[in-house]
Subunit: 459 residues, 4 copies
């Protein structure tokens, strides 16, 4: 599929809403156009270089391969497809025993997606209703997505999936249970694949990360490239044929998919945060230099603290690869404990990075005039004059750095990015729990006794 | 002046720029209209209740008065006028000895402002150029605002003032030096008042805190009420007559105004943060209840930590009033050490409040559909269904709470608010220094010796 | 009672243990002698100045009185007696309705203690056994102190009370329930007063805060003055006559005493921490000056951060007095929310103060030679030479400062002091909970709605 | 050398002081005996197993070798010898060009140390006097150790070295400059080896980490095994022959030794902290279980946070090995940036681990009766009764855990351990600087521009 074919593929009758209205021409709508354009570019890039596509979609089996894959700069749109495929392949192994046909269904589905070169969105979080109650105890039984009817040729599902990045601009929805289920909750133990344009599917979107409409791209260098609409996906009695069902009623295995997805999603977040932290350090140094402050002690101390956070984070990424687990397929899955501890540390301290970056930049990070003001015929020369540092650091250069700081930190994009990292793959509490689960606490207890020189059994 | 008169007063030939262009009709421009409307409302309110105006503009002389004044809910537009008047009155005392005519000039100016019921913007931060160099060592001598010509009837000033809230919608600009000056920097020791429409004055504006244009006010409940354009004010050879000059060349006194302003600005920030922290606690509790999570231990622990931060902050406000300093005029000025320590703690920990609030709210804080989506005829009923908790907590109610969380934290408004509190009245380093300066370190040293039971002089 | 009478009063047959053995001569035992000596000195001081005694034991009824009382430098031994009396008086009001005779018993007891000039230890924490179970569900029913027999003239109690400062050197034990009790736990709802030498009472002591035996007092300036033995008090079927019983079986009121004591204990902790933080700041500045480092930027930044913590803490003390609650008796009780928030902040950040102090002092804080080494005939002159900074700051002076830093931070005394502040009056979680309980969350919720400009009832 | 030979080797006329007096019988002195005994045991162990000695003293050349070496549990006494040898070998390469004879001297010295199986102490930190001044500007020129006389056969040195672990019980002192020197400071650029018993050498010791004299070893399980005296080493005109001189006057290379040592010392600290953090986690879990609190949410949350810190630290150790640098000799030197960032994080957060551990354990961590009290005939059975949790967790077991918590955190040993980790290899500021120096800031700046999609050169 090339860019043109991709754009055309979106005109398939899908029901997409935004700003309170049905969207008729997705590729022309301001909330979707930039993202679709970036996705289309990747299609063209892969079309021109099939090896790059192959390299991206093939999971690594060596540590060098993991490092290489981590360094690939592919558009975020492509990542969810990769994570979805990895999730299905990883999970298929684990449910083969209880649902033999699932392995086959997964294999066929993965092959189809690759053949047709489709894009997948990950649908996991349910509406959840009253979060103090399990699915079966909700006042509204649809608060968690469930099977409402079983037919000879498949099932009918009802419910909603929230926080779905890229739903409106993908082709497929991978639908999986959000958590473990218990006996009696069989109808909620459903995993399957649904085309975006299936009857009964509606996607309501918000785009909080966007730059102000009509603004100059230089004023919002990050938002312009990265804003992604978030879909609220409604499944209003959607039929799913058997061959697209990966789990149906096996409550014990309900969490397998979410668990698999969690690891791949958090790994993506970790890689993205590692690079993002380095970008913040670099920007802090650039703006300190542009302000003439790079030698001031408290500025240097702040940059050092940023560097330490960045280095700690990268250390966890390194450790997660060195201690990767080899799956049966030979694919290397990053170590969960290091991935989770790193994700926790990064998310918990993200705003310390932001605070230092803002504090180093100073007030112009939020009040710098727009680039168009710098080019205004009347007044632009004066704005440039007063935004300049000295002859070797002119006003336009410095102003663009301020806009970058702003857009990375306190713009709508900066906020959305932070919130996404904080809550993506579960909030801090979720990482907290997974790290504890993966830690060998019995070994630590033995180490404590050894350090005391005491064996309670013996002494 | 009433609302109508206020609106009319803005058509005075002022040169205002935004989005790269000159603004011709200020009150109709989307960046200025909401703010002007709120300011106009306060004019009407004060017109209807002159005592309220009197109460607001009269500085307190008792602790009860301070508490009462702190509790006044007056639009932010009014606060800068109050701070400016307080600054001038406080500073006038301190420069009377070296510049007797200043006291007279200040008194006349304050009377004029009150008589005409004008609004003042505080112009303090200079362009600063290369921040490693003092004003007189800059490549561009105008990097700090200065006197470029002296005439029999006044002076001509040149330079720029940055981060000026409300500049475009006020009547007067209070211009003061940004810091202490040294011998040889006499031209930079200039404090004066300039009408916004004075020839040579241009104001370039940005409005980073605004909600997306055309968005529903319910989706951005804070941004809609509070977004304030930030002015970059250029003084391109502006004439200032003697009667509007409060300092000119007295380098030793250059910091007096900035110092005075600093206290009043930080006090405003403190009051605003105290209330803001309580609002965040309240919202955290509301969303926890709406999610059905208010009894979960880790949610309660997060809210408790928010409460502790909020209580610490309010304690510093209380202590700053209890230990207020009585000025010669009888006015009570809040204690500097408590104000600065509180401002520091609040700004340094603001994002911990935000992180907890987001973490408690969950992903819908950034992905909740818009209120218009909830009202869409096709799909609205389903969005409401899936956003609801249970019958007693419906989808519309909960969605509005999510929008409130979003707009208070990671929207453009949330980011701008945080950045403003972090950097307003100087960044963390500035509060750090002032707190140390106001702390009685000699007493602490004596306490240390006493605690050791040792007197080096004696033993 | 004067010092001599006090010392004599301890020879009353009390059963005290330490270091694995029964202590026969308390005042001569190295673990008890220093503390007994300090207590005796206070007796002599009060004997010489009865007004000072009166001032100390009279609870304040005005804010000035509270400040004055907070500033009294009375030995820690006296404080527990004060807290105990305040606790009984405060609690008596609250239980008068359900147990009329208790008010009388309290009044008589308080009068007796004052007349005889006795010292009281506060016995609250039970052994608790398995902390996941309530008193009545323990395998060993004595895990919480309880009434095991009721006689016509009183009751017999059994159990243990832990962490009892000064038990061995006081005259009276105030025994109160450690927490709220439920119906069915009547035997555990017992509050009474027991003489230290009552048959069946044994006190096992540890003294972790002591300096090494035989060490020079100048090497441990704090430990020498302040180390207090901690008693593990066993009540092995101790008879208590009716007139010494303040609660017996009223389960609903079981927590009243603990609650009252909690406030007075935490208030003492707060005052002690406020002064302690200032002492640490003073010592940090002294050692920075002695090292010649007081102008280095990162040293100043650390001292500033210490000052900010110290100022925040003092602000909570100030606010707790300004918002004190007036009891029926006219006595002012400090505001609970500010006291708890302050205690939490101080305890949670205590080690930040310590870390900065150590980091500023450098390695000699743990390796400085002893004062006796400085006086050694062979080598002392060389130790003094190399411990000196310059002629104006000699080696002996600087070494004593290092010893002070050591003894305040990482000596056995420093550790015990920290642990005492962290866990005294309940750990961080306890303060966390009390702060939340005292916070007006409903007001915060209303403030949130007001800030949103939304009333769910109306709109 | 075996244990007997080692003990005998210490009777060589060395001048050792402690507690204000000259020590005549080192092996019998309470401050030295335990440490000498542990060192002697290692001699015997290596004597019995020469391969273990070989394995320990041979530097690793593969990552597996690094991991294996990191896991060796050898007494701390041995580590300084290893670090010293590594330092000399690493440094020899770097100074060969400017001082060819140094390589030879190092080689001969290393061979001699190995042949005779000696122990070396690392002497780096000078007295430093007024720390605001360089060596040559001190009032006392001996504030930094220097050459005071040059003779045909060697040099005479004068000065003091501080914080020297194990000085009194080693055979050799490796003396190196504490920092970079400047032209004019040639006399301070001296590195050499000095026998502990060389004329003019005196060692004044303190032992702050020791348990109370006469205490039961079960009450102080860590202090008993680990307390190490700290030496203040005075060089009062000590002659050093040419063959023991490694640097003399080459100011540019003065920092090479300190730099090399720094890496090996910080690596030791890191390994020790990684294990120590796991021990704290294990102990926290053990005491939580012993208290019956292991399922309480806030206890679990604290243990999880401890686990995350522990995991972050171990990740930096892993990353430091994966990114080790290969020296010319083939030896792998751990990556400096990861080692320093890890050391910083560990030291800065050590007390968070301690605070959680204490908070989980509760007050008995500082007030638990001694093991001898538990064995007292009169009262021991009652102490055991009340220290017990339930039948399956008896009082003696639980009490030993409390003692372990105490001794690891707030005992003199706990404090000394923390201070040692905080200040060993330089304080936080030192690690902060080294991390920044090793970070590729230019790459981060390029990443920032790339992320902005902007090339200032091009656009």
């Amino acid at each position: 599929m090339d860019a043109r074919a991709y754009r055309a593929s979106l005109n398939d009758g899908r029901r997409v809403y935004a700003r309170g209205e049905r969207v008729t021409d997705l590729a022309a709508h301001p909330d979707f156009a930039p993202n679709i354009e970036r996705t289309a570019e990747v299609y063209d890039r892969f079309e021109a270089d099939p090896e790059a596509r192959e390299a991206f979609f093939t999971p690594p089996t060596t540590i060098e391969g993991m490092r290489h894959h981590a360094a690939l700069h592919v558009d975020s749109a492509t990542h969810t497809t990769y994570s979805s495929l990895m999730t299905l392949l990883t999970a298929a192994d684990r449910i083969a025993a209880v649902r033999p046909q699932a392995a086959e269904a997964v294999a066929a589905y993965v092959a189809m997606v690759r053949d047709k070169d489709l894009r997948i969105a990950e649908c996991i979080t349910d509406a959840k209703g009253d979060r103090s109650r399990p699915p079966s105890q909700q006042e509204d039984k649809d608060a968690y997505l469930r099977v409402v009817e079983r037919r000879p040729d498949g099932v009918v599902i009802r419910g909603a999936k929230l926080h779905i990045s890229l739903a409106a601009s993908s082709h497929e929805l991978m639908v999986i249970p959000t958590k473990a289920m218990k006996p009696g909750e069989e109808d909620y133990a459903i995993a399957c694949a649904v085309p975006v344009n299936a009857p009964g599917v509606s996607i309501v979107n918000v785009l909080n990360a966007a730059p102000p409409e009509g603004s100059d791209p230089r004023d919002f260098p990050f938002a312009n490239q990265r804003a992604v609409p978030q879909g609220f996906v409604i499944f209003d009695d959607v039929f799913v044929p058997h061959e697209r069902i990966f789990l149906d009623g096996e409550v014990k295995q309900a969490a397998v998919f979410a668990h698999s997805l969690g690891l791949w999603v958090r790994t993506s977040s970790m890689i993205s945060m590692c690079d993002g932290f380095d970008v913040m350090v670099g920007l802090a140094q650039l703006i300190a230099e542009a302000n003439g402050l790079e030698r001031v002690d408290h500025i240097r101390a702040k940059i050092s603290e940023m560097i330490i956070h960045s280095t700690l984070l990268r250390a966890t990424l390194e450790a997660s690869m060195v201690h990767a687990a080899k799956l049966e397929s030979g694919v290397l899955a990053p170590s969960e404990i290091y991935t989770n501890a790193g994700k926790y540390h990064g998310a918990a301290n993200y705003m310390v990075m932001v605070r230092h970056l803002l504090d180093i930049a100073g007030g112009s990070a939020i009040t710098a005039p727009s680039m168009r003001d710098l080019e205004n015929e009347d007044i632009g020369h004066l704005v440039r004059k007063y935004m300049g540092t000295r002859q070797s650091i002119d006003g336009a250069y410095r102003t663009r750095l301020f806009h970058a700081v702003h857009d990375l930190t306190t713009s709508a994009h900066g906020g959305a990015k932070y919130a996404g990292l904080l809550m993506g793959g579960g909030g801090l509490y979720a990482q907290n729990i997974v790290t504890r689960m993966r830690y060998d606490i019995e070994r630590a207890k033995r180490m404590a006794f050894d350090a005391m020189g005491w064996s309670p059994e013996r002494d």
